[in-house]
Subunit: 299 residues, 2 copies
């Protein structure tokens, strides 16, 4: 059995406070036995996207860079895999909403860049929404899986979780655990369980959703609902964190059960890729398995 953790804490306008909160909570997760821990979306800043201010671009940083190096050192000290989502400034001048994967040797394993970027007109919402399209270029890395020492993992960031194709690509890539660092609010609380559970069931992997919690100190009134959650491949909620406070969702997952589950259910065996063409803007029937290239994974 492998113990994993979704670590949530109340954010702060002062980035140093977030770093300290994250470090304290990750140490606690490791002390309680977690071997993989995930922080929320944009963990070291408040959720700044409710405003469109050029000065917030100054908070972006290279990945790898200072913050991921500090988190890598922490992962190395604790001997864990740590997922650290930050605001990335790429060398070519673009900005991404990124998650870095740091290994138990302190090294940089890889990164994922949020693929689908939301923007909901604030006038249509009863609570502050994010104009993320102002800040983030849609990710250009596809949906990689990361073969860490403890599990093969995939990452979707917040809004990405509304796209079942994205969750499926990670399953096809052999993901055993999907981590979903998030910064979402009470308005969409009703979607949280059902989407995470559905991804887990359809793809026969574990899902760990990690949400921000509460109102950022010194930030907007946007109220994040917490409820970081670990779900089994049968859609069972194994752990759920507080709706209002710093907390850790912690559960033991059994990766050895996944191959038999995939074999029993056949949800990979009985797919019809030859008929899913419209998912990639091709007519149904034009994509033939005979043209398939080999994919990584455990189908």
């Amino acid at each position: 059995m492998l113990r994993i953790a979704g670590v949530q804490f109340i954010g702060h306008a002062d980035r140093a406070v977030n770093l300290a909160s994250a470090e304290r909570m990750v140490r606690e997760a490791a002390a309680r036995g977690a071997r993989i821990a995930c922080l929320p979306e944009l963990f070291n800043t408040m959720y700044f996207c409710v405003e469109t201010k050029p000065e917030y671009f100054d908070w972006a940083e290279p990945v790898p860079g200072p913050t991921t190096e500090r988190m890598g050192a922490l992962a190395g000290e604790l001997g864990i895999v740590l997922i650290a989502p930050v605001f990335e400034k790429a060398p070519d001048g673009r900005y991404f909403n990124t998650a870095a994967v740091l290994g138990p040797d302190g090294g940089f394993i890889g990164k994922y860049r949020k693929s689908s970027i939301p923007f909901m007109d604030a006038s249509r919402s009863p609570e502050p929404r994010g104009n993320e399209k102002y800040y983030f270029t849609p990710g250009d890395l596809g949906f990689p899986t990361f073969d860490t020492p403890f599990a093969r993992i995939g990452i979707l960031i917040c809004y990405d979780r509304h796209f079942p194709e994205a969750a499926r690509v990670l399953g096809l890539g052999g993901a055993e655990i999907l981590f979903v660092p998030t910064a979402t609010t009470r308005m969409t609380r009703y979607l949280w369980d059902v989407e995470l559970r559905a991804h887990a069931i359809a793809n026969a992997y574990y899902v760990c959703g990690v949400n921000k919690v509460g109102v950022d100190v010194g930030g907007s009134k946007r109220d994040h609902h917490g409820n970081s959650m670990i779900v089994s491949p049968k859609g069972e909620v194994l752990a759920e964190a507080s709706a209002t406070a710093d907390d850790i969702a912690l559960a033991d997952v059994d990766l050895s059960a996944l191959p038999a589950l995939r074999s029993l259910w056949g949800y990979y065996r009985d797919r019809r890729p030859d008929k899913y063409g419209p998912v990639v803007d091709l007519p149904s029937g034009t994509v033939h398995p005979a043209s398939a290239t080999q994919l990584a994974g455990t189908r």
Copy 2:
């Protein structure tokens, strides 16, 4: 508002009894105002796939054919759209698990053939399972939507519902309501709500799941859980039928709300078809939107 119905009834080894039950229940649904009604998977037979007997192939029939003509006459008399799932024998000698769509003028609108065909080893199940691979060729029609006089609809049959790509292709094709005729058992009851609700949310359409109920009289001990269900695009359960008896799930749906919902949420706008290549067995990034052909639908 449009009233729709999922019609469930206890099956029988005598096909004439099923036809009579279906006709009685569809008349009741229409009398209660339903303009579209859907019957369960393989509505006019018992669920015979728990056995592998060559003589059951005699129950297959052309589509259109005698049963769909009779159901078409009923739809015409009642002025409704009727979805009638039957065991199809194709002219070329193949057999399909098919659903016919019959119009309010009594005409044959089209058909869908179940795309993903299950087979669970009975020795691994505490209850009778179906070896559907013995009977049914995987459907060759893709995932069509049907532009009926009351709504554009899509159909997935039973096991198909475990495949989020299939549900998405129907959304891309402009489906406003997804009907899911089914014959599933209490063992998988825990999946029913979460999968139907997740499809509704991700694709911003209504979902009407229609399950067989109870044990077929004169058939196997396989116990179908009923609970035919209508779900809103927000994942709300609008209606749920009995777990044990003949019943109708009946609800009013507001198709006029769908375009604004799709616009508000952006789940179609912010998709990344260029990164979903693995869903159709292509590497991520090889399918470029510039090569896209125009799809039907309301993206």
